[in-house]
Amino acid sequence: MNSRPWVIARKELLQLRRDRLTLAMMVALPVMQLLLFGYAINTDVRHIPTVVYDQDQTAASRDLVQGLSATGFYDVLGNVRNYQEIESALRGGRARVAVVIPTRYSSDLKLSRPTQVQLIVDGSDPQTVASATNTAASLVAARAGELTVQRLGQGAARAQPIQLETSTWYNPDLRTAVYIVPGLVGVILTMTMVMLTSMAIARERERGTLEQLIVSPVKNLELVVGKIVPYIAIGYVQMTLILVIGSLVFDVPISGSLPLLYALASVFIAANLAIGLFFSTLAKTQQQAMQMSFFFLLPNILLSGFMFPFEAMPVPAQWLAQGLPLTHFLRIVRGITLRGADFADMQMELVWLVGILAALVTLASMRFTKKLA
């Protein structure tokens, strides 16, 4: 091969091979983040420590406690005998939920009188509250329905009052990992691609080799292409790594077309490389390049919809987020892996990505010239 981009790419790979630390980082980083995010960030609250204050002490009340425990959301730690004990359990953090069953529970049920079961929830963590109350409410509603049917006897079943039947598609168990892992593909690509490109050029500037390249007949485009092609390859390796581990360890499904995902990812990767390139024109040292990359990463994580729902953000924040390549790639990667979206579904996101890419490339090439000063 004789073309200059290839000569430059080969040199980049040679350097990368000698730079064990960077190489290790490029593999270790995605794996570590994947395990951290996959295991630690978990918004499905299960196994909530629970105490029971059963004032009724009948078969019916024990049956209700059994039912709650069987959902898997509540770990019943034991019974308490009064409200003071409930308070101390919640305050001390030993329990997050207390269930209080009144004395008249079973007799009320027999006489088909309305009865109340009290659920006391530690509200300091809103996530727990939502999870605990939803589960309990649906359980109690189901039980009430059963009881009504039982009481009326067969044949006399009356039409139920309006019932809302929720059916969750694509991620029926609502497991967070399924949502987070594909998103991580985007976050990790953003992080490594921006950082590696900006540092790769800042390094040449820092060591004076950029001046040597500028004075050579190498063309701007050849230099840029030669510099970024190795990193595109690395980006794909990282992406594959995350998807494979995600599917093996976290059971993340890949419902859609992988070739489509890999094809669309190229635009996203290119956009990040252009950002890195732009940063490298501003940074004089590798350290500055690194700082800029981290500075850029934060809004990406917070605004793109990776951590918080896009729809929940105030409108100006949404505008800002639309300008981030990650926002659109997250929709693409989640759409394709989880919902099996096809090209037509993802067209708009592609249009956005291409638009952002074009703007970035213009910006970067305006700044990146082969002249000094």
Partner: protein, 315 residues
């Protein structure tokens, strides 16, 4: 006279209010070793960068290897070699990898690349160290690799920006042998330097001071034009003698070298008796006096000093 390989007319460059290079007129002939001298910040590197086409001039024009430095910079870049002050090598690549990278960048065809790298390594004595990482080489060896990289594509014109900074005397001498060999093969060399002994090894010199050209010519011509006669004297009271001599207008410069005072004067053949007379009058004993050859360094210091005086008078 053939067409000069480097030619500038009123070449200028400012950075904001600072004028780094002012109305520079230079002509370098093919095959010459041309030295650009000047103190730090005189505009030497700025000049070289403009000639290489990596810095646009803010005024004037210039041609290098027959191409316009502003409009045809990319054509120039194919035909020149450039060695920066810092020997810009990839420290994490081996000698051979560095050379073959630059061979690729300068468009040495793939089939000939390996052979060319070997040739250059042999010529510069690098074959033994071809597997060594550039970062682990000493200054002198780095300089050899940098020179080998800059000449990998056999350029007709070679720019060297302070090529011997931080290199030991033996390596410097070997480096100069290389330069003369290249010159003999027809390569034109344009270099900047601080070292006056190196300046004397150039065919022609240009003196730059505060962005302006002070003088241009062969080392002998430049020294003769200053019309200095230099005397070296040995005296036990060197400091007193120096102070006393500096007060006289026929003395241009007094520089101590150990026990010896080197006195540059404008007095021509009368320098020796005049100095003796001045020192006798003050009762300063003189052990030995002898005429010495005026050097480029004497000329350089004298020129810069005169320029300072002129500027002070103008201010």
């Amino acid at each position: 006279m053939t067409e000069p390989i480097v030619h500038t007319e009123n070449l200028s460059r400012s950075f904001g209010a600072l004028v780094a290079v002012r109305d520079l007129n230079l002509s370098v002939q093919k095959g010459e070793i041309f030295g650009v001298l000047g103190p730090n910040g005189a505009g030497k590197s700025t000049t070289i960068r403009m000639l290489c086409g990596i810095l646009d001039p803010s005024g004037g024009r210039g041609t290098v290897v027959g191409f316009d430095i502003q409009r045809e910079a990319e054509r120039i870049k194919e035909r020149i070699g450039y060695m920066t002050q810092r020997f810009s090598l990839y420290e994490d690549l081996s000698v051979q990898e560095n050379l073959s990278f630059y061979a690729g960048i300068y468009g040495v065809p793939f089939g000939r690349r390996r052979k060319r790298v070997q040739e250059v390594m042999e010529a510069t004595g690098l074959t033994q160290r071809k597997k060594q990482l550039a970062g682990t080489l000493s200054g002198g060896w780095k300089q050899r690799v940098a020179l080998a990289s800059a000449t990998i594509h056999n350029p007709p014109l070679l720019f060297l920006d302070e090529p011997t900074a931080g290199v030991d005397p033996v390596s410097r001498r070997e480096f100069w042998e290389q330069i003369h060999r290249l010159s003999a093969e027809g390569t034109t060399v344009l270099m900047t330097t601080h070292y006056m002994d190196e300046a004397e090894r150039c065919h022609r010199l240009a003196f730059i001071f505060r962005g302006s050209l002070l003088d241009i010519g062969s080392p002998d011509e430049i020294v003769e034009r200053r019309n200095l006669s230099v005397v070296e004297l040995t005296t036990p009271q060197a400091v007193a003698a120096a102070d006393c001599l500096r007060e006289h207008s026929f003395v241009d410069e007094v520089a101590p070298y150990g026990h010896v005072l080197r006195v540059a004067t404008y007095a021509g053949d009368a320098a020796e008796p005049q100095i003796r007379a001045v020192l006798d009058e003050q009762g300063i004993p003189v052990d030995r006096v002898r005429r010495a050859r005026a050097t480029v360094e004497d000329a350089f210091v004298s020129m810069v000093r005169a320029e300072h005086k002129q500027q002070e008078a103008a201010a």
